[in-house]
Symmetry: C2
Subunit: 297 residues, 2 copies
DNA sequence: CGCAAGCTTGAGGTCCTTCAAACCCAGTGG
DNA sequence: CCACTGGGTTTGAAGGACCTCAAGCTTGCG
């Protein structure tokens, strides 16, 4: 859908500042979309889904975890429909603590294409930094709580700690795998495309305890989903209703429910392999592999 | 386009073996699509585009280059329309020395979607290995000359040599950046999509001296291009002719010519930034950055 | 209450697909 | 030398998927 640039880009206006002071003055439980797993306990990074997610690549030592926890030097709130990096200092990466965000590009037609969702516990503006992502932006779809991490320090940690290096490799490779699956998904008809996206969201959110067996909170508009699917908002709506009437999903009050998950997955041709939830588990760490690259099939 | 699985998959048949013995018995100049930059000089990896490409991430020391050169333990020929990894030993990664290849997945409809091209000097089956790429395959579009590299040794080198680590990071991040651009490209109409693909090929091939100012050899069928664009072969043809009659390109005898490159790039909205040709140049190496992650904008 | 944002529905048109047939060309065998 | 074959390209016609424009509706909120 056509995308109004100015409201999204030039972000050094009052909205941001008021939001920043807002979040400082509030306890995090009061900011609306902050979740139970999003607590501040003495430091800015305690008990968040980030470390949990990283450990899918193999266990981290206590040292490594402590180092990672000290990375955050700022915590702020990004309102919906605003970019994370208006000024782009470049010396930091962003860690989403709560809320839904996305990476996107804007075409010359004014259309926006979302290339990936960013969920709580996801790092961004790391792989996409510098010359790689000059035209790639990160924006909040809902109000997001974001921690700024020091990029130089993170880079240093990657060089010093094999567990951290392995974890960041894992995150990066999964992002690549996911992007390729999105390319494949773009060749499917719109109904399967939407179904596939919902399956991906379900499993990704389950991984961080933000989804139950049969559904999840999803405070994202149909227009945003349309931009992620690469189809129009109107057609997204029609396809959504087709899924509804066929009983595959329900979606109302910002809640998605999937009564028969295997059925939806079959319909969508969804194979979670590309998300690589199982691949670098305990055995990888036990084998003390320096990086996911070491893994054969 | 619908994809005949059996002819592509079960590859332990005579065709492969005869090809392998073929390439052993031939000087590399005689195998058809081998190029001038594809010479064997004492070892299997001399003077190929691989090292040249890696040095875009920053200079490699002589030590590092020598280590990389010793990685290849086998060199073989993969005939067109055959997979690289029929048996998938998993202990190796593939380096394309000449020819055009692709990464692809096959949908349940039988359609194939190509998610990226693999050009001479490209590594594959590295990021895509293991659980990440269970359904991702690598196949030759034309006859390819391929070197097998030892995966464990490469992993070791990544851990030991900062220059190699940086280079492999760079390759990976560029692949991610490229995948995201392909997602974006999927939202453009077919004519711009094709134009964008040709622009990407032009600049990528120029980087390894396989393209001139205004065109390149492209012995790939329209059907293959269709699978890379995610549109049908018939429509690819029609769109191609539209580009031809509008004077933007010519394409015949397996040769693509682009009389006015800036014009085509403008038409395609092509911004080479995502290929990151300039980003980790001499300055990055001079600053002795451990990895591309260190780069800010 | 009234506004704004999002959702829903309708109608008409465009882009792209499938099916089908013809064509071209290089290679093969009689 | 020519007929045959097969892969790739080209063209036509009909249908479906998806888009845009536009209006009405529903909901939350000041």
């Amino acid at each position: 859908m056509p995308w109004a640039q100015p409201s999204y880009v030039g972000l050094s206006d009052r909205a941001t500042d008021s939001c920043r002071s807002l979040v400082r003055s509030l306890s995090s439980d009061a900011t609306g979309s902050l979740t139970a797993s999003d607590r501040i306990e003495g430091n800015l990074l305690a008990a968040d889904p980030f470390l949990h997610k990283l450990e899918h690549a193999g266990r981290l030592t206590d040292d490594e975890k402590n180092e990672l926890k000290t990375l955050a030097f700022n915590r702020r709130c990004v309102p919906a429909h605003h970019d994370f990096n208006p000024g782009d200092p470049g010396d930091r990466v962003y860690l989403v603590m709560s809320g839904f965000a996305c990476r996107y590009k804007v075409l010359r037609t004014g259309n926006r294409r979302i290339v990936s969702f960013v969920l709580p516990g996801d790092l961004c503006h790391m792989h996409d930094a510098g010359a790689f992502g000059r035209d790639l932006r990160v924006g909040a779809l809902t109000t997001c709580s974001v921690a700024d991490l020091s990029r130089p320090k993170l880079t240093e940690l990657i060089g010093s700690y094999p567990g951290i290096s392995r974890a960041i490799w894992w995150v990066t490779l999964r992002e690549l795998s996911r992007a390729r699956e999105w390319i494949v998904n773009d060749t499917r008809p719109a109904d399967k495309r939407l179904a596939h996206l919902l399956c991906e969201l379900l499993t990704s959110l389950q991984q961080i305890d933000l989804a139950g067996e049969h559904g999840f909170d999803f405070p994202v508009s149909q227009g945003d989903v349309a931009d992620a699917l690469g189809i129009s908002a109107v057609h997204t709506n029609r396809v959504l209703q087709a899924l509804r009437t066929s009983g595959l999903i329900t979606w109302s009050n910002q809640q998605v429910a999937i009564p028969d998950v295997p059925q939806l997955k079959a319909f969508a041709e969804f194979d979670p392999g590309y998300l690589c939830l199982e691949c670098f588990g305990a055995e990888a760490a036990a084998a003390r592999m320096p990086s996911p690259l070491a893994r054969a099939s």
